[in-house]
Symmetry: C2
Subunit: 459 residues, 2 copies
């Protein structure tokens, strides 16, 4: 094992780190559909979006053409504090599984936010600072995005207001303290601090919240700040996939350095930030007809937007204050069961990934949470990293694909995204350790009921 020429961990040097983000939209024949104004149902113009988002980020959001966008030096310097992230060869896991497959994972958890979210947080905070704003507002689910944004804001000296999905706020008390240590202001959502929060609480008393609710509250807080704040979002948006392309670019450089071509690339998918970032440069090659890869999006069976959702225009948030996006969605009113402990709770999906999936460039599977935690425990014990529940969706499918190779004898090369660590998810692990975790799959009736609430847009 140790004689192998490929090291356990491939680290790029600073010189090998990307200097520009890759914009996969430039290579898509069918571009993602534009965001629509929720009032007029017409495509949002830059000036409309600038009430919510920073101006430079609006440009990036609307930029379907430039293949590369330069990473500003301040962001590149910040990246150097916690990047490059290692591309790890899972020798121990391969041996344990007895598979001829070669398994690699790009590990994004070696920073205090515990995930890849920091890659976009620093970019969004940077542009807010450049624009002279006082601060930013956002929502957070598992808490990784909120932590990442708190870190970025502390570094740049910006205020950070975080609306945290209530069930996470309660399940992850220590996440709040990490964000507070970085100086953030954290409110459980739905809350009484916004109109939309009060309305949701009235309609659904006792709700444990959803990302969709929290987004609505954070947007309202920004829009009603008199221009001092803008809203930032950790996933779903095309600008986020752009920033997250740093994951895929580093992965590709590392693989190229050793002459490795992956057969399958796997990522968990909630809003699509990690998966989109990881696959972007590889997808670019596939779109340009240069190479072929299998891409697999893995989502929870309890929140199956790609595998059971509709490809249609829908609201990005529960409160219906945000623009509409064309995406695979379960309906903006969909809230996964409170039993669900694996993250990836968003009702929709990145428009870019939705379009790519719709056009047949990508596969998707859904997995149940007990099998996800079984994979997580196995991975922790063998590879020594306690994974985030979100990331463990990708681990589950990577293991399944490696076991298929064991049956067929194929020596496939599998790359998956290990988005982060589970250190703040121990309530979920405790449930699993105690044998108290149950699975949950929404019924067709539940989904139909949710679909019926979606806006009817003929585009």
């Amino acid at each position: 094992m140790s004689e192998n020429k490929i090291p356990y961990k491939i680290y790029l040097s600073e010189e090998e780190m990307p200097t520009a983000w890759y914009n996969v939209r430039a290579d898509m024949k069918n571009k993602p559909a534009p965001l629509l104004n929720p009032g007029t149902l017409e495509p949002m113009k830059a000036e409309e979006l600038e009430g919510v988002f920073c101006s430079e980020l609006v440009k990036q959001e609307l930029n379907n053409d430039d293949r590369y966008i330069e990473i500003p030096q301040t962001i590149r310097d910040f990246y150097k504090m916690y990047r490059p992230s290692p591309l790890v060869r899972a020798y121990c896991l391969e041996e344990k599984l007895g598979t001829p497959a070669k398994i690699y994972y790009k590990f994004e958890g070696n920073n205090t936010s515990g995930s890849h979210k920091l890659n976009s947080a620093i970019a969004q905070a940077y542009y807010a600072k450049q624009q002279g704003l006082s601060g930013v507002t956002t929502e957070t689910g598992a808490g990784q995005w909120g932590t990442a944004l708190s870190m970025a804001c502390a570094y740049l000296g910006l205020d950070c207001k975080v609306y945290m999905v209530k069930c996470s706020y309660e399940q992850k008390p220590f996440r709040r303290e990490v964000m507070r240590t970085y100086g953030a202001d954290v409110t459980p959502s739905p809350s009484n601090t916004t109109n939309v929060g009060r309305a949701i609480l009235e309609q659904f008393p006792g709700t444990t919240g959803s990302l969709g609710c929290a987004i609505s509250e954070a947007v309202e807080a920004a829009v009603s700040s008199g221009g001092k704040y803008r809203y930032v979002l950790g996933s779903v948006l095309s600008q986020v996939l752009l920033h997250q392309s740093v994951i895929g670019l580093e992965t590709k450089t590392a693989l190229d350095k050793y002459g490795i071509t992956p057969d399958i690339i796997i990522g968990c998918a909630g809003g699509g930030s990690n998966l989109g970032g990881l696959i972007s440069p590889f997808m670019g090659e596939k779109l340009r007809g240069e190479k072929d890869y299998r891409f697999i999006a893995v989502e929870p069976a309890s929140c199956p937007s790609l595998t059971r959702g509709k490809f249609a225009y829908d609201f990005c948030d529960t409160g219906k204050v945000c623009p509409l996006a064309k995406m695979y969605t379960l309906g903006s009113g969909f809230i996964p069961s409170a039993n669900h402990a694996g993250g990836l709770r968003y009702h929709g999906m990145s428009s870019i990934l939705s379009q790519l999936y719709h056009d047949g460039y990508m596969e998707a599977v859904s997995v149940e949470q007990t099998s996800v935690f079984e994979a997580a425990e196995m991975f922790a014990r063998i590879e020594g990293i306690l994974p985030a529940p979100e990331s463990s969706h990708a681990i589950r499918v990577a293991i399944d694909e490696a076991l298929k190779c064991k049956e067929t004898g194929e020596e496939k090369t599998i790359v998956f995204g290990l988005t982060g660590t589970g250190y703040f998810d121990m309530v979920a692990y405790e449930k699993f350790n105690n044998g108290e975790m149950v699975d949950y799959i929404p019924t067709d009736e539940e989904l139909e009921k949710s679909f019926a609430q979606m806006p009817k847009v003929d585009k």
Copy 2:
């Protein structure tokens, strides 16, 4: 900043990783005093120690002569999963402080145990496995050692019984779940499961425990296992400093690669595992008269063994079942105030470090916990890593030394050990965030009372 030739993070390649541990005792003129049998007060022989420790580890414990001891291939392979750890240039901290000093830290927190403890855990578990044992017993304070040992045991397929200091068990509920995820059996100490635990509970009902108590329980559990288990210890012992020399060896190789010679090397000191490991190869040069360095041990003002303790033979544990060691000690009955939240709660200190300190090769300072958490918060916001409270003792003094350089204009090179992350210490951070943290310094009377309980050994 970014034009500088030294990268933010120096990672060694696998080929540059150490293949042998360095044994600083080989270069000490005054060797650390031998362990004594608590009954006879005679030096412990190998065969006596083998009832408690694995045979190979006993050899390492008693080996004052061999300068290098080869690292077995299995351990080297395991090291490759989470090592080499980065040596980080703290560019951002330097800029914020406005100091001409150059600050580096060796960051050991990028693994699930969250600390350097894994370096010795895998070694000790490996030798237990080699000897055909069923498992190991141990104590843990902050939980880092217990987690590290659980990880090592899961990897090698050994049972792991952990006695966890009760105040940590209560302050860090999620640590228990991490250990359970790795298959460990965790008991709060003092407990009713051992004779010594029952005796301590009777004498001090409601005690929050101490490392000393937990050690006694773990030793009893091993000794009364009919030979199936041995006891392993995460600090204090000379074998642990040997294994931890991997930290210093990597640091030295990384510095040498860039032609950097440190002026000051700083580490936090509880039992001495990290500090001893970090400084060992540099201390070797100093002992051999090849180079000079300033070494600074940093300990909490609430548990000041080097700065206010006695250099004398004392029990390593509260229950007085372990051998006696000659060391700086506050008395084996000393238990820091329950207010103390910064770790490093051990009453004694590595015999190696004690001897070196006694012989004038090393300095020591003590710091109060509110100033430690101020440094921790500052570091988190600037360098992006939320540090363990233990590690933050070293950060505090590194910052203080860098600020002295700002006054004098000296361009000193400061290296400190960042032993780990504080993700499981959020109860302590919460106390600090809420302004509820208080300092505590034992009075001379308290220490005299504790010293009076120490054994009288004329050696």
